[in-house]
Amino acid sequence: MSDIKLGATLFCYTGEYAKFEYDFEECVKQAALAGASGYEIVGTQMIPSYPNVSDEFLGKVKRLKETYGIGPVGYGANNDRGLLFDRDLTDDEMLADTIIDLKTANKLGCKVMRSQYMLSAAAFERLAPYAELYDVKVGIEVHNPETPMSPEMQKYLKVIQKTGSKHLGFVVDFGCFAIAPNKPMWDDALGMGVKEEHLKLAAECRYQELPIEETQKKLAEAGAHPAIQRALQGMYGFVQFRSKEKLPKLLEELRQILPFCFEMHGKFHYLSEDCVEPSIPYEEILTMLKETDYQGYIVSEYEDEMNCGGYEFTRRHLAMERRILGL
């Protein structure tokens, strides 16, 4: 039987935080008020002495837990392979940096850490004994355009199975199950004078999985406004989507890696007043997940493409999850 806990990443409040409307404490407070029972923290975003964590900050985290009832459950690590100006970091160097992340996650009391696929499968394999020492489960993020069983992710699956380590696994971002265009980018394009018929044409081409060059050609022939480019890049990039007929297969992929999943990122870009995400099929995803043996957090993750802040949408997202999961 599943045991799903609902959390939120403080990244939801990126807009408020960058505008100095919320400080770290306010982010924690808002996550708690939205209904999260734990939070994820992105180190590069909110840890003042990144990549290390100071006693002062730990004290604050502890005090906020006493005040608002929630503490960090997931550590969002970044894998900056392009740190140096003249070359990529080697596997040795990437591994060493990730061990610093483990120390920080461990100090914060996070049992799960999100890493990114810039950390190669070979370096990930070598991380296992360290992750075990610190008792932090490290999940490679499965993020759109990757899917749970895409070739790139299978490299990590092989390592997880080969090592048999209980500390190596995945964090799946629900954005990879998107079946419709990203609403903020769509609305943004309309606002810049792009005609809806041209956006629909672009979406149709994407559904048919035409190469981007062909879609660009069709749009040019149809006389589409150049401002459609951003939406188009999104459709073929980090917010790409597939046709609804592909969803059962994608969810089957999720089922295959589920025994190795430590956390889910409940990605959302928009939530209507009746709490529906227009591009990510939450009903299908959560209904399926509820019937599995998944035990862990779904961490709500708002991408503030609308630059309106995460206050309202995060509340709606958690309300939607509770409704579907019957929590």
């Binding site: 960058a18 590069t44 975003q45 990144y50 990549p51 970044n78 392009g82 003249d86 990529d88």
Partner: protein, 144 residues
């Protein structure tokens, strides 16, 4: 220039209210201003690929510009080696510009070119990363 990401979350990268004259031996010989990184997270200074200040169309020589963060003032050529200096997106950096005579009374157009390599967003093999444009241009009024 090709595609570069923009993420001006705060709405203000160069803090317009932060301009201060720089005095050398009691005389106005330049100015300084604060800059907030235009991204959702912080970056190591070694990911800065270009930093250039232009005043009314005139580019300030690189050696006359310094970057101050967390109490450490650095010449620009060192930034690319600064792999342990982390620039938080909520801690503005102070840019100091030596300009003999300082900014004259009147309005000035200050442009900051600031290009960063997003170090976890590879867009190809062999050290090819998504460029971030965190530059900004402001018009300021110098009254005295």
């Amino acid at each position: 220039m090709g595609f570069a990401m923009r993420m001006n979350l705060n709405g203000e990268i160069i803090k317009k209210q932060s301009f201060r004259p720089m005095y050398i031996n009691g005389k106005k010989q330049g100015f300084s201003f604060l800059v907030q990184l235009g991204y959702y997270r912080g970056h190591y200074l070694s990911t800065i690929e270009q930093l250039e200040v232009t005043v009314d169309g005139e580019t300030i020589p690189q050696e006359a510009v310094t970057f101050e963060l967390n109490g450490k003032e650095m010449p620009l050529y060192r930034l690319k080696f600064a792999t342990t200096e982390f620039w938080s997106q909520v801690v503005p950096a102070n840019i100091h510009v030596i300009k003999p005579g300082g900014l004259s009374v009147g309005s000035h157009k200050i442009q900051l070119k600031l290009m960063i390599r997003i170090p976890y967003m590879a867009i190809g093999p062999d050290h090819s990363y998504m460029p971030l444009d965190s530059g900004d241009t402001v018009e300021i009024e110098v009254t005295e």
